[in-house]
Amino acid sequence: MIFEGKVIKYGDNVDTDVIIPARYLNTIDKKELASHCMEDLDLDFQEKVKTANIIVAGNNFGCGSSREHAPLAIKESGVTLVIAKSFARIFYRNAINIGLAIYECPEAAEAIEGGDEVYSDSDRGVIVDKTTGKTFTTKPFPPFIAQIIADGGLMEAIKKGNIR
């Protein structure tokens, strides 16, 4: 899959409480969740995400709660890809299960800046920062993970008979 777009950059330990504060977890409506995404971390996120669709962050992205509402809110906001130095394990699992693409690539996460234009081909495991011209390599998704993301999530993949 190809991902392309402008970057919003964050630091280490972006936790699920700032991605989607618990006070908004009284709904499972994706649009409503998305409207509060990153609210406690970055009040400008809603504005930024109108023109940017890739999040780049530091270590332990998505730490904290198991709320699947967190990757759901990010995806529904229009973000197509999250690149981080590392991910908290439940967030990693949840992101794949709901069909949000994520890369663990410390070099790219370090070098890419907010506002940069990025191009990535997940089948080849390549990330290109078009603004600086730097290229990074990451492990391509294993086929079953690639399939889940392409299908739009674990449930869709199971329904389509792509995961048995």
Partner: protein, 421 residues
């Protein structure tokens, strides 16, 4: 065989003799848990799958604890969605207001987890049951939905860090100080993707409550699970609470660990995690005066009988400081009832505390004690992220029940030793 405790449990549930770190396996689940926040998403996903029934009516478990008793209309609708689903699917272990407790305190108490089990829960603190020698871990709602449908989940087999506990805890030092000390040492991603396995002669010095508290916060170090070696205390606890037979898995002598860390329990002091990460730890003897507005004693980390009892003994005959709101939340109905029968609730009320029915409530900023801008709380809960208990400018300091109780009395963060006799 060279397997850790965790790897042995996973191998047995995958139906294979041996697993290795990094391997992807499909395991059978002894229990699938959800709460009133995560279950609605799981139910929506489950309904997409087209299954008529859950895989086992006695193994799917839902607990209405986060925003229950319902904090608002939307929360009421979410609880109703869970209630209707459980009624329709004839889910046996559905716990509603009046019978529920904070989920991770409730399941061991109800005997729903025994040593050797594999449990997934759509709640990050599902790792609590490692205290009983089970493999348990937090997952998302999609995993819960798949688990409810098929009774299976996939895992990458984790490697482990071995914690060798020695020595004995000093008075008023409990499991909370131990786990905060460890997270302060290894960091909030210090055990990322891995197991934290607790062993050593010091284990026998820790109560089952201490072990529940320690495993509960394994996730705050990024771990997949925390797990204690099973001993006589574990087996006695399981026997008292469950009719099911525990299965004891011990690590092989030649099990391979990424790291071995020795923790001398006798050196641990009252430890507090400052905002906004559980790794920002300080001991109470090295901090300046920090005035507080609220104290919360409860949660799946520290709402157990032993914790409530200790806090009550510290508060007995004393008064909560002016300007401090102290909120006590026994984690389950059984704990609440016992505390009431033993007069502990009276001690709290006489001291000027509010006592609440079981709920996760303030721990995640849901209800029952939300903080205003710039307010500061000492809480026996497990997270102190930005906005965790209320306004994004408010602050949460994580501490033991003893520190929380002493802080309520003194109006500042303090250890129990600082109280005058």
């Amino acid at each position: 065989m060279s397997m850790t405790m965790t790897q042995k449990i996973l191998a047995a549930h995958a139906g294979v003799d041996k697993v290795e770190a990094g391997e992807l396996i499909l395991v059978s689940l002894d229990r699938v848990l959800g709460n009133d926040i995560t279950s609605p998403v799981a139910i929506r996903e489950f309904n997409k799958l087209g299954y008529d029934a859950v895989y086992d009516k006695t193994k799917v478990t839902m607990v209405m604890d986060h925003f229950a008793p319902n904090k608002d209309i939307k929360a009421a609708i979410q609880c109703k969605m869970c209630r209707d689903f459980c009624r329709e699917k004839e889910v046996v272990h559905f716990y509603d207001v009046g019978r529920m407790g904070v989920e991770h305190a409730l399941l061991p108490e109800r005997g729903l987890v025994v040593s050797g089990d594999v449990v997934i829960g759509a709640d990050s603190h599902t790792c609590t049951y490692g205290a009983l020698g089970a493999f348990s871990t937090g997952v998302g709602s999609s995993d819960m939905a798949c688990g409810m449908a098929t009774g299976k989940a996939w895992f990458k087999v984790p490697s482990a860090i071995k914690f060798v506990l020695t020595g004995k805890l000093n008075p008023h030092i409990t499991g909370k100080d131990v786990i905060l000390h460890i997270i302060g040492k290894i960091g909030v991603d210090g055990a990322l993707y891995r197991s934290m396995e607790f062993t050593g002669e010091g284990v026998s010095e820790l109560s089952v409550t201490d072990r529940l508290t320690i495993c509960n916060m394994a996730i705050e170090a990024g771990a997949k699970n925390g797990i204690f070696e099973v001993d006589e205390k574990t087996l006695a606890y399981v026997k008292e609470h469950s009719d099911r037979e525990p299965v004891v898995y011990r690590a092989d002598e030649d099990a391979v660990y990424d790291e071995v860390i020795e923790i001398d329990l006798s050196t641990i002091k009252p430890t507090v995690a400052f905002p906004h990460l559980p790794e920002n730890t300080h001991t109470t003897d090295e901090i300046d005066e920090i005035r507080i507005d609220q104290v919360v004693i409860g949660s799946c980390t520290n709402g157990y009988y032993e914790n409530i009892k200790e806090a009550a003994e510290i508060m007995r005959g004393r008064r909560v400081a002016d300007g401090v709101r102290a909120i006590i939340i026994p984690a389950t109905q059984e704990i609440y009832l016992r505390a009431m029968r033993e007069g502990l609730l009276e001690v709290f009320i006489e001291a000027g505390c509010a006592v609440s029915t079981p709920t996760c409530g303030p721990c995640l900023g849901g209800h029952m004690g939300i903080l205003a801008p710039h307010e500061r709380a000492v809480a026996t809960t497990n997270r102190n992220f930005v906005g965790r208990m209320g306004d994004p400018t408010s602050e949460v300091y994580l501490a033991s029940p003893a520190v929380a109780a002493a802080s309520a009395i003194l109006g500042r963060i303090a250890s129990a030793d600082e109280l005058e006799d």
